[in-house]
């Protein structure tokens, strides 16, 4: 009832693990697959082992979660073994990768065997990486093009909302040959400890995820659906089945779920059954939901 084909990949449901959540160890990804995810996106993987920013690197705030992990990762040279364990979960595995230039992205993508790649050009707090690249349409197009020329699996590009016009970055990804875009990464944010005046995050600022950013993400997905010919994958603050339906109505073919896993490791099964019951009640198909808000 919820199965679909996304950029040529068959998914049992449109609910995927978002990058940066439970995605560093093969065992944690396998657990999320067994908990009902339709696909898994790994932690963002780079050229060299990276320890990330000092702690605190994640903290719950009034309306969501603030993080500045700083792209900690064991490097692509140590990561295929984790992907292979994740694959035992029986669902597609998508590698999130990051680099400082097109050559980095190509080298990493060329060395990892996965079902698809998600290019992280959107992390808001890593100097020289992520959004420092993803706010420049020319760089986004070049990097996408370089990875497309290197691999023969689908390439998705994850976009930052911290731009004036997300459509221009989405178009750059499309022009570079992207098979889909993923929207959105976290929204730049910070919190300050009023007892001491210290910014709470070790990196001082970071990115906001969780409930607060959902309406922002829905609008980005809505705009990208109108502007692009390639599929849009929605992510940002999905906490229950209604949120997932909303994203799909905005124009997402599938969604990714992140922060909400912390309090509910069974969220994929909960959302699947909630969506199925909703479709039955309405007499609709998943296809009917897709982009519904645009047809009214």
């Amino acid at each position: 009832m919820l199965s679909l084909k996304l950029t040529g990949i068959l998914l049992k449901n449109p609910l995927m693990l978002a990058a940066g959540i439970m995605g560093t160890t093969g065992g944690s990804m396998k657990r999320i697959a067994q908990a009902g995810a339709g696909a898994l996106v790994t932690k963002s993987i780079g050229m060299e082992p990276k320890s990330g920013h000092s702690n605190p690197s994640m903290v719950e705030v009034e309306c969501g979660y603030l993080n500045a992990m700083g792209l900690p990762n064991p490097s692509y040279k140590n990561f295929q073994q984790e992907i292979d364990i994740a694959k035992e979960g029986g669902v597609p595995v998508i590698a999130s990768i990051f680099g400082g230039c097109a050559l980095d992205f190509s080298e990493i993508a060329g060395a990892i065997h996965v079902d698809a790649f998600e290019l992280n050009v959107s992390c808001p707090h890593a100097h020289g990486y992520g959004a420092e690249i993803g706010t420049d349409p020319t760089l986004v197009e070049d990097i996408t093009h370089a990875v497309k020329n290197t691999v023969d699996v689908p390439v998705w590009v994850k976009l930052t909302p911290n731009v004036t016009n997300i459509k221009s970055i989405g178009l750059a990804a499309q022009n570079g040959g992207a098979d889909a875009v993923v929207a959105i990464n976290t929204v730049r944010a910070m919190a300050i400890d009023i007892e001491s005046g210290y910014p709470i995050l070790g990196n001082k600022f970071g990115g906001l995820s969780g409930r607060a950013i959902k309406p922002v993400a829905v609008k980005c997905v809505y705009d990208l659906y109108e502007a692009l010919d390639i599929p849009v994958i929605g992510v940002g603050g999905i906490s229950d089945w209604k949120d997932a339906v909303e994203f799909i109505m905005a124009g997402a073919q599938a969604v990714e779920i992140g922060s909400a896993i912390g309090n509910n490791i069974n969220i994929f099964k909960d959302i699947s059954s909630g969506m199925e019951a909703f479709l039955l009640r309405k007499g609709w198909t998943l296809e009917d939901l897709y982009g519904m808000a645009h047809q009214i």
């Binding site: 702690n55 605190p56 994640m58 993080n67 896993i261």
Partner: protein, 249 residues
């Protein structure tokens, strides 16, 4: 939750390398739960609560060294209590504590005693000077001691004191992972619980940095049953800040 401001009201030097920091704030933990301790401007690290309002810390790196510079009236940020603590079972229980691993077991022993549970503690450390909370465990029940240098109790490891292990209703363990692995190999796994230590980032079950296979130490743990650990990478390798596997020695 955001970090709560915790003002230090007392510092107790337990051993030459271990201190207990008491706060004016009580955290009402279940024994075995932990807190994320933010030494502002330095780092945030996970620590077991050794009392309702205290942590007991061994000086091992930059963050703990910075903490040792603090005294009465200074404050740190605390998130917690976090995770799942020890599951308390009736009968005659055995506690196995190695070094600063005694920190979460001491309040657990006190709680178990109030519930009328019979307690035997095996307490181990490098030397006599490094033994902590001996009096607290003695007040709760029988105590047997092991030191690496033989300066008190038997000369050897605390694991050598484990005897007649089938007779205990439950076995609780906290200490260096290699020691805990030895305990797990010696006792009935279905009747044992272990408090794990891992590099923790978010502390709230999201990032996955502390995972032992698929188990989140910060959320599903830090206390796990021996049964669960027997099938995992526990005792074989852990992960560093980058997520690389590091073989345990």
């Amino acid at each position: 939750m955001k970090p709560v401001n915790a003002v230090i009201t007392e510092v107790v030097e337990e051993t030459p390398t271990i201190r207990t920091f008491f706060f004016e704030t009580s955290f009402n933990p279940e024994p075995g739960q932990f807190v994320m301790v933010w030494i502002r401007g330095v780092d945030e690290i996970p620590m077991a609560l050794s009392y309702d309002n205290a942590i007991t810390v061994q000086k091992v790196g930059p963050a703990t060294s910075a903490l040792f510079e603090l005294g009465i009236g200074d404050s740190i940020g605390i998130r917690g209590p976090l995770g799942k603590g020890f599951d308390i079972r009736p009968g005659h229980i055995l506690l196995v504590a190695g070094g600063v691993g005694a920190a979460p077991l001491a309040p657990f022993a006190e709680k178990a005693k109030t519930e009328g549970i019979k307690i035997t503690t095996l307490l181990g450390a490098k030397t006599k000077e490094e033994l902590i909370f001996k009096k607290r465990f003695e007040k709760a029940g029988d105590v047997l001691i092991a030191t690496d240098d033989g300066s008190e109790g038997i000369h050897g490891y605390v694991t050598q004191l484990i005897d007649n292990n089938e007779s205990y209703s439950q076995i609780y363990c906290c200490g260096p992972e290699i020691m805990m692995k030895k305990v797990l190999d010696k006792v009935p796994s279905s009747k044992s619980q272990f408090s794990l230590h891992r590099y923790i980032k978010c502390g709230i079950g999201i990032c996955g940095a502390c995972c032992v296979d698929g188990l989140r130490v910060c959320m599903d743990g830090p206390v796990f049953s021996g049964d669960v650990l027997k099938k995992s990478e526990f005792g074989i390798y852990s992960r560093n800040e980058c997520g690389e596997r590091v073989k345990l020695k």
